[in-house]
Symmetry: C2
Subunit: 458 residues, 2 copies
């Protein structure tokens, strides 16, 4: 039996908690209302993607994006600055083409391809010869140098369509793109063709970084549209001696100066404790970098705008970071973490949006069980907005260099079904963005920042 | 303290349950794999939307859709038949236009509009005159016959952008479209312009049914693109005497013969007990009826195909029903329920997909608490596929006439954010469909049918 005093005490605790939860629900409702009614994410993204366009590190577009986002953030933040980062500069060159050779020009089958980012070019004469299809590195090694030397290697392992979370399918196939060139070069291959990282039968190729291994010869590599990967595979089955040709003119140029763009809304109580929210400002040089990662940039900017417009004074300092060079070097993320360490900045959490501007599903995390449970406790506040999945491992590439600090690293996780229709392609354009989905993502991030700022991470 | 026997018994119950759940998880995985790898929903939808096109009741397209779907279902089902339904036939006519009059032809502002389904036409000379903006029926009534008589009424209440589930926003605005004409006509209005049921600022109008109230004069009604509704409202604020003109040539024709298309996979144990899964085959006469409701039709057909291809023999009979005339009469749904009642058919559940072909969120229901709890118990099996929301009221228009039987009525509930970009517009075309999202919807419905078939509804 409980005494009356204890019962009353319990009732008070329960009702106080309820009241706090009701207040939080109301604050989060206001956050979403602000972005759904007055949001700037969509018009910002329209400018970034259609006026500035794509913005590979070191390009004119990247420089314009730095200037533009600094100006926009200056209208919102208490302070804005540029953090210098030296970035690689790779250029695709004038043209790129590939075909299956025929007896004459008429029999030739043109294929939709693009150079992989970071690849060397073929030289003006292109490269041609026999092509060998493999599904994975084991198959490649089993064939050995005898069967590979002097040939082009075709990596054709598809992404697994049965993986419900499409990033898992990407993870299961992307080694072909990243390491395929060096794996093949070690056995004497002269070039590499990689099936695009897309799930559907598509007409357009997906670019993305390759990494040349130290010591391996640097051979040219291209991605081929999935539809044409299927076609090429069929033709190879009919004729193993099929002649393949491709020509690219890409070049690796000297490094250039660029910047991370940073803006803050100062905290009232723990001014020196930072909540970072960000995306990456650079994109590939195909399309407009709308989902990857214009969305993440404007959503992060919108978090600051929402707090400002609603007059929510954060206890901690909220810092927006638009990272440079995620796509082909991660130099922005690495430099950001280096400076943070060198100057002894105190971060309490970092949140990144780099999974597209789609409808909310949840947040993935690289965090302690204690913090995960804390976020699970907020689930009733977040579920009404479609945020139901908090169990996955994750974070984000740009914030990953902060892992050493031990703070929770969090990735905004929208629905993943359409992401690999656009990722690293000419199709990643503004018209593929749903205004409401983009805004709900911004609201999701702002809601999480609100809860972390109010209740801390411990 | 428990005895050893009781403990062993408990362990057995737990492990048997676990084993059943593991088996169910495996079956559901196979269901999703089948549709993601070998699915026909997407190619079926391509044919239905791009070869046949739109298919308003009584149109050539509707008749073709009946023939085509019967033929396709005959390849899968144990039996297929057509259920005769007499449907209304409304035709839009050759042209429709609206403008704000100016001093001369040059000052005229053309507006993007379309007649509302079921509306009478204006006659060859169109109608013109003053236009009065109202937000709701209360405002209309407050103005009264004095201020409305002889004028055009402009219903301009927007859908609420802060409603996270967009169907709620639709529910809060659609009375203007359905009943606005008669409400205005009772006060002597000569025509009605309704803000389109869309959340964004769009260039294209949304059609949809109006219902003329008995005894009210039947006046012509059009929908105006949201962007132009905003423009018209601004112009009216600047000039209350603004002259508005519109012309439509729609006609209400005599009823014609059409059909519900029905196919079955016979049950092994409870052959006479029916699990219905369906969508509606008719669409509006703008666009291609891809999300509304080509998606629901091909997903329902896919449920049957999945069971057949996986060799899952259902205990109950699974019946696919492609209903005719959901959009402007619901005659198919009403006739289906009438025949079911008259012949004493035993239905145990009806599931409809008519909320678009988007990524899965859950199922809404019109069902007993007992049944809701049963579905909630299946949540661990459904969550991995994005199905997390089972609390909403719902069902589907076509299955709603079965409500009297007391069986659970269930609606497949995909994400709702993009639905009202396409609903009832020229933009509802095949290219707006994500193959994976469509397939996941089919898998979701098949998984639910599998669980209901195995465990029943009690």
């Amino acid at each position: 039996m409980y005494s009356k005093q204890i019962l009353l005490g319990l009732l008070c605790i329960i009702s106080c908690n309820l009241s706090a939860q009701t207040q939080d629900a109301e604050s989060i409702k206001q956050i979403f209302n602000e972005t759904l009614v007055n949001g700037k994410a969509y018009s910002w993204l329209e400018y970034l993607t259609t006026n500035i366009g794509h913005r590979l590190s070191g390009s004119v577009g990247a420089a314009s994006a730095v200037d533009w986002s600094k100006t926009e953030l200056a209208n919102i933040g208490d302070s804005v600055w540029l953090q210098p980062v030296t970035v690689p500069r790779w250029i695709r060159g004038e043209s790129e083409e590939a075909y299956i050779k025929g007896r004459g020009k008429k029999d030739m089958i043109k294929l939709n391809v693009c150079a992989l980012g970071g690849s060397v070019g073929t030289g003006p004469d292109g490269i041609g010869g026999n092509i060998v299809e493999v599904q994975n590195f084991e198959e490649l090694k089993a064939l050995g140098a005898n069967r590979i030397k002097g040939k082009i290697v075709f990596f054709n392992r598809p992404m697994d369509p049965t993986a419900i979370h499409t990033f898992s399918a990407y993870g299961g196939a992307v080694e072909q793109r990243v390491s395929g060139a060096s794996e093949a070069a070690r056995l004497g291959a002269i070039g590499v063709v990689v099936r695009s990282m897309g799930l559907d039968q598509e007409d357009y190729p997906h670019t993305g970084s390759l990494v040349y291994a130290a010591g391996a010869p640097q051979i040219p590599a291209i991605a081929i549209a999935t539809k044409h990967a299927t076609l090429l595979s069929q033709r190879l089955k009919a004729n193993v001696d099929l002649q393949f040709f491709f020509e690219t003119h890409c070049e690796i140029m000297p490094d250039v100066q660029s910047y991370n763009v940073i803006a803050e809304l100062k905290g009232s109580e723990y001014r020196e404790e930072l909540i970072v929210v960000g995306g990456h400002l650079d994109s590939w040089d195909l399309g407009q970098g709308a989902h990857d990662d214009g969305s993440g940039c404007v959503q992060s900017m919108e978090v600051l705008r929402i707090f400002k417009m609603l007059g929510i004074v954060p206890k901690h300092t909220i810092r927006v970071v638009l990272f440079m060079n995620e796509e082909n070097g991660l130099r922005g993320g690495i430099e950001y973490a280096r400076i943070a360490g060198a100057t002894g900045e105190k971060h309490i959490v970092a949140i990144e949006s780099d999974n597209g501007g789609f409808t909310p599903r949840g947040f993935n995390m690289n965090a302690s069980t204690e913090f995960r449970n804390k976020v699970l406790g907020w689930r009733p506040l977040l579920e009404p907005y479609g945020l139901t999945d908090f169990t996955r491992e994750g974070g984000g590439a740009d914030i990953s260099p902060l892992a050493g600090t031990g703070i929770p690293l969090i990735g905004y996780m929208p629905d993943s079904q359409r992401y690999f229709n656009y990722h690293h392609t000419a199709e990643d354009t503004f018209d593929k963005i749903s205004k409401r989905e983009l805004e709900l993502g911004a609201g999701s991030m702002a809601a999480l920042v609100f809860l972390i700022d109010k209740y801390g991470t411990k």
